[in-house]
Chain length 347, copies 2
DNA sequence: AGTTAGCACTCGAGGTTGCTGAGTGCTAAC
DNA sequence: GTTAGCACTCAGCAACCTCGAGTGCTAACT
């Protein structure tokens, strides 16, 4: 069977109505509230077809229809009109995003806030990943006789460090020697590259006979590098989901809160997603635990390389059109901001 | 009226039963399940007295009694028996607290986990405050021509830093000069002291004629110091409250989740509390939004000076005796661990 | 042939009713 | 002072009813 123009129109109306009301949509209401020009009976026939084709389903015999995931997919891919935000909305977003924001972290946090408020969903924003950030500097600094600080600085200005306690006192010369050699070995490498190198071997060489430092310096070096890769995940609107009728049940709400609070896990899920604005609906999500939700993510860029993500999570019944528009505008805006932030020494 | 021995016994039984069941307790059940040696009628008379005295209340005419906040307070102050944990419990806690834990942050996070699991409540743990930590070191390090890193190291090994972008290139000599002077001025001072000093004046002097660095170095210095004071708040068992009958209502659950997610606010509340094991019940909490909950906090110590807090939040109907016992043991254990961690270079 | 009106049927939501069980307070007897 | 007895209260639950919004099917209409 083909999807006639009329079937598409009906489907669109059903999706629109269901997204708005969360109630199964019947033929009567449809013909009353939408200007389709056909009678309820005809609509019923068409709906029956649409159900056979997998676009609609029936909670129980005598209730209206609800859109299936397949219907949402069709909607997102083909039917959805990308609505431009109004200038007022745009200005409001830009203003809020930048007011009183001095640091990257703040900006990202703010993005999550704005996103959650504008969509009434649970929103999140990830700080950029630094895989591709380039090391510029490794340094060992004395604190006291037996304490040194290992410090790694990247080109983008990220600094990460670890304090080490040593068994024996160490001289300034030794530290200088180690610092220079480590810098020589790692400068210009990306963090990811540095981690794949055989660090133990390299450091061993650097340290030459100073085997006693291996056990302290090497693990700390790895740990410090890994620390530079850590991303922060900001979330906002945790409880927005509580106002939605589909989560009016304690168990569901609980499961949701528990899921989004396993932040490392959640971050991994996000990192695995493709770039650009990506919508995954219900069972399209790899993860079983997410099969009741839709996830929309988008990427922003820092210097064209480091990539961060923002997104929302909510019921499959969500205003995809609005959500994707807001997110697109927001990521453009953040990327823009990061160009300024990171490049303000170029002027 | 006086609280006779018998009234106390009855009150205790009511508290015990209500904490267990969350149901108002009637005279019949009381005489059936507790070995009080008196008839329901007598119990009724006594309960009536206890109600007059403010220890009990009546949801409606024909229901049983529930303990008032005053009753819980009496219980916590005078009636509660401090129960020692069993050796098995103790060992389990100690093992979990230390297994695979390499860092302070991890240990604190773990403490929140254990606490929430053992009490079935929402638990939190704060990393220690570093007000009293002593500065040992201020350093400015070149990254590239116009970028330097400001680094502050404390005696306890905490390192905090900020990357600065400068308008003009700076020489190594200038940086050395500034580093030395700042270290000279701040070494040995606690972070709080350092913040109360007139930093601008001091740095000005250090920098002498180099006024151009003032605008960059000074704010960053303050920011970096403040950064060292930041505490982290770990939470666990967010949703434990969902299983309790008193929060079987969406609105209440939502309010709760929202409250504990305002982390900065919540951290401030915690910091304001006295040392030791502190119980505040319902309206005893300053904060209006907490008047439905009881908050139990306890302090652990690092080197006898830096202080961190752990705690739980839950309904006023909670097993105070169990909770305080677990928390006492846990804080002792953490303090112990921090002695080892911070002092492991002394051996 | 496609569209529509009509009809019998289904089902969830919401309101009413009545019963039960656990409670209370009071009074009078022990 | 303690207790048994009694009349009364009230939340919770199940049974029942009605109502409204649906559906699918058939037969008539254009």
């Amino acid at each position: 069977m083909e999807l006639s123009e009329r079937k598409l129109k009906i489907l669109q109306a059903i999706i629109y109505d269901f997204v708005k009301t969360a109630e199964p949509v019947g033929s009567r209401t449809l013909s009353k509230n939408y200007d389709l020009g056909i009678s309820p009976a005809t609509i019923r026939n068409e709906m029956s077809d649409l159900e056979d084709m997998g676009y609609l389903s029936h909670p129980h015999t005598s209730s209206g229809r609800i859109p299936s995931e397949k219907a949402y997919r069709l909607y997102v891919d083909q039917m959805m009109d990308k609505r431009e935000l109004t200038d007022m909305q745009k200005n409001a977003i830009t203003a809020r995003l930048h007011s009183n924001v001095t640091e990257i972290e703040n900006l990202v946090e703010r993005a999550a806030q704005i996103l959650s408020e504008m969509t009434n969903l649970t929103a999140f924003a990830m700080t950029p990943r630094r895989d591709e950030d380039v090391l510029s500097y490794v340094n060992l600094l004395p604190v006291d006789e037996k304490t040194v600080v290992l410090m790694i600085v990247s080109q983008s200005g990220k600094v990460s460090n670890t304090a080490l306690r040593l068994r024996k006192p160490v001289t300034q010369e030794t530290l200088n020697f180690l610092s220079k050699h480590m810098t020589y070995n790692y400068k210009g490498k990306t963090i990811s590259e540095a981690l794949t190198l055989d660090i133990i071997e390299t450091v061993k060489e650097d340290a030459e006979s100073m085997a006693m430092y291996e056990e302290t310096v090497v693990p700390s070096f790895v740990k410090t590098l890994e620390d530079m890769l850590n991303v922060n995940l900001y979330m906002d609107g945790y409880t927005n989901i509580f106002s939605l009728p589909e989560y009016n049940d304690m168990d569901k709400a609980r499961t949701f809160i528990e899921m989004i609070n396993r932040k490392e896990e959640f971050t991994q899920k996000l990192i695995g997603r493709d770039d650009g604005v990506i919508v995954t609906i219900g069972n399209e999500n790899q993860d079983e635990s997410m099969s009741d939700y839709s996830l929309v993510t988008a990427t922003y860029h820092v210097n064209g390389k480091q990539v961060g993500k923002i997104g929302v999570i909510g019921p499959t019944r969500m205003k995809y059109s609005e959500v994707t528009s807001v997110m697109e505008f927001l990521t453009d805006n953040i990327s823009q901001a990061f160009k300024l932030t990171e490049g303000d020494d170029d002027e």
